[in-house]
Symmetry: C2
Subunit: 201 residues, 2 copies
């Protein structure tokens, strides 16, 4: 195995490209993102990009599959995995939701891209929809386990409730982004906490 990093590190180059693309897309949208800006941010040239990816669209797909999917995994799915009390876990996740100006003004990377690209490109839409499905599925599974553990009310439908949570969560993030006002988001998270408490068995 190689110890020192090779001068030419294809894996790292790919990652740098995807991370740079993620940042640019997060701030400008996919259509608004300039390849040159992505390359400059990644510190590579066009040759590297087109060596690793088929083009801008393929890079966008890779960003969804690798960067955005991981964010959802880390923030939501991992903390909910096989947990005893999902209400507590969900409350913790809400507490971790950033309310800095940068995050409030930027919105949710997943939803941003979904709203922009879903109607335009089926490849984007399918990948983004899959992340939403996994997200809601993870919340749903956790709630069901909580019902078995008698931590969550049994008279609610886990999937409907999970969908409701995700929809409201994303809705507040969107509102706060447009208003550019963290108070909207903070108030929303408070409302969601109240809702979560109402789900306890």
């Amino acid at each position: 195995m190689s110890v020192s990093a090779p001068r030419r590190a294809p894996v790292q180059t790919r990652e740098r490209l995807m991370n740079a693309a993620f940042e640019e897309v997060y701030h400008n949208g996919f259509q608004g993102s300039d390849l040159k800006a992505i390359l400059a941010r990644a510190g590579v040239t066009k040759g590297a990009l087109y060596h690793h990816f088929d083009g801008k669209e393929a890079l966008g797909h890779a960003v969804i599959e690798h960067v955005i999917a991981r964010i959802t995994q880390d923030k939501w799915l991992a903390p909910l995995d096989d947990v005893d009390d999902p209400i507590d876990a969900l409350l913790g996740i809400l507490d971790d939701t950033g309310t800095s100006d940068a995050e409030v003004n930027g919105g949710c990377p997943l939803n941003n891209l979904a709203q922009e690209m879903s109607p335009l490109d089926e490849g984007f839409r399918r990948r983004l929809s899959e992340i939403f499905t996994n997200w809601i599925g993870g919340v749903s599974d956790a709630l069901r386990l909580g019902q078995i553990n008698e931590k969550v009310r049994n008279d609610i439908d886990a999937r409907d409730t999970a969908t409701y949570l995700v929809a409201t969560y994303e809705g507040y993030i969107s509102l706060a982004k447009t208003a550019q006002d963290s108070r909207v988001l903070i108030s929303g998270m408070k409302q969601l906490r109240l809702y979560l408490e109402s789900l306890r068995a």
Copy 2:
């Protein structure tokens, strides 16, 4: 006063341009909208556009102020204006929410544009944010009047509740758009109806 429409109808031309721009922006986003497509749809040429508007950006601003603002007014504010029981009125509005494929896949014009343009252009953001503020304000006022009329519970905060309703409503529309599945939206409206019923005095 002139009876027959004049060959050159500036007011109508402006409206045609704004409506065409609205449709194109609704389907492709603002950045993704081609001026040529807008002009073709409006049936006018570039000369007309730049005679009536300063450019693409100004046309976008006009679309928000005239087309999108009117949609919100007609769908939400008018039915809620000075109504006796806001819960009934809100339920009626939810029933009017379209669940056709075109509407589900297209999402909410207001939120679509807000998510795309808010971080990019302060002129867009301010105008869009104002519509959201009016929207939430209208729901809020109706709820407060309902509290006075003893149709709405007094232990809720009208503004927080209105914001919650709008956030959840928009969140479901966004989810359904990405999933391209009207069942998501139908299920969401059902959840919102349950929530509304829980607000009755």
